[in-house]
Symmetry: C2
Subunit: 453 residues, 2 copies
């Protein structure tokens, strides 16, 4: 008996040495971001106070491949290439003729795919002489990845952490501090925007919007400081494409190619990472289905509208064309913290409009159920975000059984759930509530969209 | 430039298919365990109520290699072969001519090396018709590994968790429950021994000794139930030898062999796993140093005596010859929970007596400092236990620099620290206290040793 391998590894010499830029292959170019005041397309100079020039260039580049700097590759090798698994035990449990593969990004030291972009972002900042990077974090995955990356390139890192998370997740804070970062509960008295909030609401629990304002304020004020974002932007999504490129090489090793590719979507970066290198083939004629999975409690792709909107609640960012629930939409406190963003990456939104991808949503109890099934069969405890992708993979595999067809399914397991056991505990106790928004609620949130001439 | 690889992987086809049994190569055989009542050597029948026969056989076997069942290999492949890393960034930081390699066992779903033995233990129990396994857990690593393994072989698992840990570590409990186990705070009213304690001390915080008594009591009473132990015993240590065997194959791939091998020691199992396959070569004439590293707060190898003692505080287990601080020695609440055992595995103790290994101890602040240095350079956050091995590896690498010699150092990174951030937090805040016992204190603990005729 020649068993199918459980784990397909690449040697580090086989690791891709360039990121794939889907902007080179778009049949219709991406609508430009607009200045929040003038509503005119913004240029590099508008972004220069916040980002190093190399990242601004990548944001608008239409080069198909952009080389990964050698210093970044060296850090990647601390956990990359990441393994591709065949979920043999899950297939058996489901009694499905489908083949289920998953790429596992939880092997990174920060526990998720976020390090794939935090490392190059820290690197380019270092190359351009930046001494200090600010960012915000909610659940803490992004803050952890950036803290580690800054430490490795000798850059100071300040993380504005939403106050309620700061208080409820002291271990995430401790992890960022272990990686040498300064973590500040937001709103704080270190910025004008923070002080303004504290004046009127001294007990404010904070929000991602407020934390962004604080981080951006510091970066804009100081010459040696820049700001860093963990999702949504084009260059961030591009850095993640190493995931899908590796997966393609790994599938080649076992003579396979996916019929269905699945990723969960919050801001869109892990979804882009696993799918964009395959969507390239789809544009060239390959017959594949690409499925974005989002929480029913934050349904930007399935219930939002495709229009220009602000990236933040504070209306400080450029306007970008995306699927949005409105910049002042506040999703309920579901446990997939990384999927609670009112909008969707412009590139992912654009691909949805072009018909290159499809979207669906699930309730959180169903996704945690899938997560527990996965942990009990495959061992790995998934983060609450990728349980959305697991749920879709299970549903597709069951459909294969019902229809008697064998398909090859690939999904991205974007991170582990070691810091999310409080949520698993509540799920097991039956304490999680499923939330669905009425069309009236969505309409209300959408009524505050900016009007573009 | 041909760079040295950062990560050396084995294909799963290269995974060893047998465990190495060091009892085959001991120049002097291991002293036998004695019955706690008669002080006579115990036989298989004495252990049959607690363990399946195959594990009892392995406990006393002198076969050099014991085949790993195919079903166990299939589960191992969910995370094995585990990666061997060259710590290039740490070497650079230390400016050492030494080469530092580490084997990383934190890739297992339970986060530590413990699954290497929990999987075969659950398997052999399943093969012999056992329906239910009981065990105890303190910090939770062992309970997590056994929960997952039992679930995978369709066996019920009950974990008696020391009450104070049950209350302070709800996430570890939630993880075991996610893997399908029943977790009971010990002392409990589910056993006679638990009820007896609760009668006199209703608020008892529990102890590992009490939890062992409860787990053993249930196993001894029920025909379909057995008991499982995560360290100390010969068969448990043998199951861990896959670590060192893989490391040897991985080092061969880069044409290397260690001069110094380092592991931390609590009960002795991860140390045995990385070192025994190399000690085999040492017995055959290889010139290597093997270093066991223990906490200064629980110094069984460096301050204990080599004698017959009980494995538990309750004096229920057989007497085994080992380095011990006395069965009623209660180590202070240091943060490397996995290293707080009063004794040392008989095999490790025996090798110490034979001069095959050396031992040293470190204080916890020094080990956490090494752990933070490691996380900041190599990314991975180590568990508090393997920070002891890291500290020793760093010290040896610095000595190489000072003496101007290049040695090859190999250590075992037995698990990650994702569930230990409370301890890192206290370290970073300067709240950890280093504990050293006076010879009077050790003498007092040793004064209760059993007297063997």
């Amino acid at each position: 008996m020649v068993a199918h391998p459980t784990k397909i590894e690449l040697d580090e010499k086989e690791m891709p040495t360039a990121w794939y830029n889907i902007q080179a292959d778009l049949p219709v170019p991406l609508p430009p971001p607009l200045h929040p005041g003038t509503h005119q397309p913004i240029g590099p100079a508008d972004l220069a106070p916040l980002f190093p020039m190399e990242l601004i260039k990548q944001e608008v580049s239409t080069e198909r491949y952009i080389d990964i700097p050698e210093e970044v590759q060296e850090i990647y090798k601390l956990w990359r290439p990441s393994p591709l698994y065949r979920a043999l035990r899950l297939e058996k449990l489901l009694d499905t003729p489908a083949k289920i593969y998953f790429k596992y990004e939880g092997v990174s030291p920060s526990g998720s795919h976020k390090s794939n972009t935090s490392v190059p972002q820290a690197y380019y900042n270092m190359k351009e002489g930046v001494k200090h990077i600010t960012t915000e974090t909610g659940a803490g995955q992004w803050g952890t990845a950036l803290s580690m990356s800054c430490e490795m390139f000798g850059i100071e890192c300040t993380v504005y952490m939403v106050k309620v998370s700061y208080q409820q997740k002291p271990y995430r804070r401790a992890l960022m501090e272990t990686y040498g970062a300064k973590v500040i509960a937001s709103p704080s008295n270190t910025t004008a925007s923070g002080r303004k909030i504290l004046e009127t609401s001294p007990d404010s629990p904070g929000s991602l919007g407020m934390a962004i304002s604080e981080a951006v304020e510091i970066a804009a004020q100081r010459d040696d400081t820049r700001y860093s974002l963990g999702s949504v932007l084009n260059h961030v999504l591009m850095h993640q494409t190493i995931i899908g490129q590796e997966a393609k090489l790994q599938l080649e090793k076992v003579g396979d190619y996916p019929d269905i590719i699945i990723g969960c979507t919050g801001g869109g970066s892990n979804f882009a990472g696993i799918t964009f290198p395959f969507i390239k083939d789809k544009f060239a004629g390959k017959n594949i289905r690409v499925i974005a999975v989002e929480p029913a409690a934050c349904p930007s792709l399935t219930k939002g509208v495709y229009t220009y909107d602000f990236g933040d609640t504070g209306q400080l960012t450029p306007l970008v064309k995306m699927h949005t629930l409105g910049h002042d939409f506040v999703p309920e406190g579901i446990h997939a913290g990384g999927l609670r963003y009112h909008g969707m990456a412009p590139l992912v939104s654009h691909l949805m409009e072009l018909g290159a991808i499809e979207a669906r949503s699930y309730h959180q109890n169903a996704t945690f159920e899938a997560g527990v099934t996965f942990a009990r069969t495959q061992g790995i405890l998934p983060g609450p975000e990728p349980t959305h992708a697991i749920k879709a993979a299970i549903d597709e595999a069951i459909r294969c059984r019902e229809e008697g067809v064998s398909k090859t399914i690939l999904f991205n397991l974007s991170g582990h759930g070691h810091f999310d056991l409080g949520s698993y505990d509540r799920y097991l106790k039956g304490d999680l509530v499923d939330i669905e928004y009425s069309s009236e609620q969505v309409q209300e949130a959408l009524s505050h969209l900016p009007v573009i001439a």
